[in-house]
């Protein structure tokens, strides 16, 4: 039905045309869910955009064929292409928060879309819209349809987005990362909906995602892309369980499994990084080991309660406070890795901020080792914990000051904590540290934007290490990274932990990653700890219902497919 042949898309730039995708072949049959998988920069979204004719300027299709049924999509005029959009091809975007016009009611948006493509009366269009909403699982659709997007929760909103995409009965829907912004429970519902629609309405889906688990769960066929080219195409089971292309194989290796623990990931790129200890006589390693005059330090949270004042909306009533954390009791054993999992909004990052002193708990006490950890502003700038506790952040693009050179970023903890007073010495130590985290020492004079996300995250780790920390908080350190890079960083963290004996709080929404990394695990939900225990124990015998549900809903590859 949809046939793509030899598709090439180019982006003119001032340095000549840059090829975004080349030689892409793909077919999608009615009712088929076709997964399009690959890491960032693979060009998978470009394929989707080219099909629907919404390439971002100044990109253009440089060659190949695009046919939908009998229609040659490339030969359409601007108007014809626009008429086809919505009518025969539609699209679902990643983030339901931003996909809907905030100023228009759901009804207006649905009716306008329906009327754009079929000549029906207002009443008929409204009726069709209500029916559709009911069909995709929105209760009380007749009244809810009058609401504005912000009145819906994330999952409901994505349903509305899907309703908008299918309200004109398109033949093909391009779903670009439709569940990436959603929590697992919602993700599972949306995936079910997509599967149902494909089956019942015979809509063809192009499901673009980076998540192998999602592909494994619902795609009929899959196409693997890398750097603008197709690596491999085939039935999902065949591609995932018996990959023929080495890249696909490496990609599968890098996916952390949920159901068992592996010691190290095999990374698709040939290990450009040697594990610490393998670099003979590294100055940074020696310096770090020298600094280990302290015992291993654990962290204890005792009855932590944290609430934010609500937004005041009335003169008479005090606003209800927003409770972010409730009665958190947690002990992180010295030298262990504690995994902290939870969905978005569960309070994971708030807890990390409380430990680092960025915000103060409303009540409760924190201990670092045996010492009380002052909360919030009570923590002086020169408090020893400032140095002992370090953090690796989620987004390596924002955690490094883009206006400072790598050398300056790395030297900062060295002079701030008074470790090294000589600038030249600081510089050589920073260079050695770069080497230790697997980067070339000449990176020291470059700026962060000259590096990839994975490399930046290495720099971030290096900066944390240069403070000689005893306690490291890793807040979703790999969620912004591709799986292969994720594997590298996870490997690095594991290695460093084992060499330097750090205590780590590892925060993630990804259960599989946590399983690979942590010794113990705590499950957080709505600011409360649902369950706490050893990692293996929890994954094998979850106690809390919530944990069980989470484990059940996380899309995974069937065990039998695993290589």
């Amino acid at each position: 039905m949809l046939t793509i042949k030899d598709l090439a898309v180019k982006f003119p730039s001032r340095f000549g045309d840059v090829s975004a995708i080349e030689d892409v072949d793909m077919t999608i049959a009615p009712g088929e869910i076709h997964g399009l998988v690959g890491e960032s920069g693979a060009g998978k979204s470009t394929v989707g955009a080219a099909v629907i004719g919404l390439l971002s300027t100044p990109g253009y299709i440089a060659g190949g064929e695009l046919t939908l049924g009998d229609t040659d999509l490339r030969s359409l005029s601007e108007q014809e292409a626009h008429a086809i959009r919505g009518d025969r091809i539609s699209m679902i975007f990643q983030d339901p928060q931003t996909s809907l016009n905030p100023l228009m009611t759901i009804e207006d948006q649905l009716v306008e879309t329906i009327q754009a493509h079929s000549d029906v009366s207002q009443g008929a269009a409204v009726k069709r819209a209500v029916d559709l909403l009911e069909e995709i699982g929105i209760d009380n659709a007749a009244t809810r349809i009058k609401a504005y997007p912000h009145q819906f929760s994330g999952g409901m909103r994505q349903r509305v987005v899907i309703a908008l995409a299918i309200c004109t009965d398109p033949e093909l829907i391009i779903a670009d990362e439709p569940t990436t912004a959603l929590d697992v429970a919602v993700q599972s519902q949306v995936l079910d909906l997509i599967r149902r629609l494909a089956k019942d309405r015979q809509i063809a889906f192009m499901l673009i995602t980076h998540d192998i688990g999602v592909i494994a769960q619902i795609a009929d066929r899959v196409t693997v892309m890398r750097k603008g080219r197709v690596m491999e195409t085939g039935d999902t089971e065949q591609v995932l369980s018996r990959p023929t292309h080495p890249y696909t194989r490496a990609l599968m290796d890098a996916v952390p499994p949920l159901d068992h623990r592996i010691t190290r990931f095999r990374t698709p790129t040939d290990a450009e990084t040697a594990p610490p200890g393998s670099i003979p006589d590294n100055a940074a390693e020696r310096w770090l080991l020298e600094g280990q005059q302290h015992e291993l330090l654990g962290l204890t949270l005792d009855g932590i309660h944290l609430s934010f004042p609500g937004t005041r909306t009335s003169i008479w009533r005090k606003p209800d406070p927003f409770v972010a954390l409730q009665d958190i009791n947690l002990t992180i054993r010295p030298g262990s890795i504690m995994g902290l999992v939870g969905e978005s909004g569960s309070g994971k990052s708030t807890l990390a901020k409380a430990i680092t002193g960025l915000i103060a708990p409303t009540s409760g006490t924190m201990f670092l080792g045996d010492n009380v950890l002052p909360a919030g502003r009570a923590r002086k700038r020169n408090d020893p914990s400032r140095q002992l506790i370090q953090m690796v952040f989620q987004d390596p693009y924002s955690s490094l000051n883009s206006r400072h050179r790598i050398g300056d970023i790395l030297s900062e903890p060295l002079w701030l904590y008074g470790f090294v007073n000589d600038a030249a010495e600081r510089r050589s130590l920073a260079a050695a540290m770069l080497e230790l985290v697997g980067m070339a020492p000449d990176a020291i004079d470059k700026y962060p934007h000259q590096f990839s996300g994975g490399q930046r995250q290495r720099v971030a780790v290096a900066r944390a290490l240069l403070a000689r920390p005893r306690f490291l908080i890793c807040d979703e350190p790999t969620s912004a990274l591709d799986v292969s890079i994720q594997a590298e960083i996870l490997n690095l963290l594991k290695d460093l932990q084992s060499v330097f004996g750090l205590t780590i709080l590892f925060i993630s929404h990804n259960l599989a990653v946590v399983r690979q990394m942590s010794d113990d695990i705590a499950v957080l939900r709505n600011g409360k700890i649902e369950e706490i225990g050893s990692t293996e124990g929890m994954f094998e015998r979850p106690q809390a219902d919530y944990t069980k549900k989470l484990l059940a809903l996380t899309p995974v590859m069937p065990r039998t497919w695993q290589v």
């Binding site: 100023l103 879309t113 909306t313």
Partner: protein, 324 residues
């Protein structure tokens, strides 16, 4: 929402008080009104007596207290120059300035918004470049030069439009309006254009920038992917979403429009508050100057309160509480 508005009101009162204090400082420092109030032949002793009568010899804080107390009682005092009640003098001039400012704003919106949309949708077109360049030159010429040029082209050389004043006005319940006669509109056109040029450019550029930003958002791309008709897409979806930042800036600028009308009014002899203010400066008519400042601040505060209300009207996120 009520709380939100009340909070803004309290802030507004603070702003007004601060402006009143500044206005009053002006009272003290701007010059000696007595020499302007009296003729050449008035003796020094007579001048001194008058100064004493007007309380100009009293302590600074005493004078400020008197000024604030009087204003709070609605007594804005009397002009040193004409001896008329200041409140009435200013009130008489408010319609002229407001109509000028509003029409200038209207021109800037009527021209600026479509121009902004056009230049945003066709960022590379020749017309876009021409519009951007023309408006850039437009805002680079001092207002008074533009005003005088317009007068000489359309008033003197072509003789199409009047060169000064308000033309025909109509009294409507104490509001003297020039919006209901053709003469009035003819007289209004040039000054409003002069005053509106800067606003027009600002509005256009703002709409253009916001529009280009909005055109990249997911919801516009999604609407595009659903095949929503282009006109609807541009005007109903995109333009509506650019309006929140646009009205904020326009609200903030309105005070500036009213104040900049000083220049325009002086060039076109437009009998508004600005002209009165300039005359007052010339004659050191301190009460008029002070009250003018307070009135300007009042307009600023009022317009910004209106802007807040407009937000609520435009954006359902502020109006409709989450039902879940």
């Amino acid at each position: 929402m009520v709380y939100f508005i009340l909070k803004r009101l309290v802030q507004s009162v603070f702003v007004m008080l601060a402006v009143a204090f500044l206005a009053f400082s002006l009272f003290r420092f701007v010059g000696d009104p007595i020499t302007q109030m009296t003729g050449v032949e008035t003796s020094v002793a007579d001048q001194e007596r008058l100064r004493e009568e007007l309380g100009l010899n009293d302590a600074f804080l005493l004078q400020f207290g008197r000024f604030t107390a009087d204003i709070l009682q609605g007594d804005f005092g009397y002009s040193y120059r004409t001896r008329q009640p200041v409140a009435q003098m200013i009130a008489d001039r408010i319609p002229a300035t407001l109509e000028l400012g509003l029409v200038a704003l209207l021109i800037s919106l009527i021209v600026g918004i479509p121009a902004g949309v056009y230049t945003a949708l066709k960022p590379r077109g020749f017309a876009t470049q021409a519009i951007l360049m023309t408006t850039l030159v437009g805002v680079s010429i001092p207002t008074f030069v533009i005003g005088i040029m317009l007068i000489f082209i359309f008033g003197v050389q072509l003789g199409w439009l009047p060169t000064f004043g308000r033309g025909g006005t109509v009294q409507i319940g104490g509001w003297e309006s020039s919006l209901f006669t053709i003469e009035g509109w003819r007289a209004l056109l040039l000054p409003a254009l002069t005053l509106g040029v800067y606003q027009l450019t600002l509005t256009m550029r703002l709409v253009r920038a916001e529009m280009m930003e909005v055109m990249r958002t997911d919801y516009i791309r999604f609407a595009m992917a659903r095949g929503v008709p282009m006109k609807k897409l541009h005007y109903k979806h995109a333009l509506a979403n650019t309006m929140v930042p646009v009205i904020t800036i326009i609200g903030l600028q309105f005070g500036g429009v009213i104040a900049f009308s000083i220049v325009t009014e002086s060039v076109f002899q437009w009998p508004g508050m600005g002209l009165l203010f300039l005359e007052s400066i010339r004659f050191v008519d301190i009460p008029v100057m002070g009250v003018y400042l307070v009135v300007i601040a009042f307009f600023f505060v009022l317009v910004n309160l209106l802007v807040d209300l407009l937000y609520v009207a435009i954006d359902p996120r502020l109006r409709v509480r989450d039902v879940q």
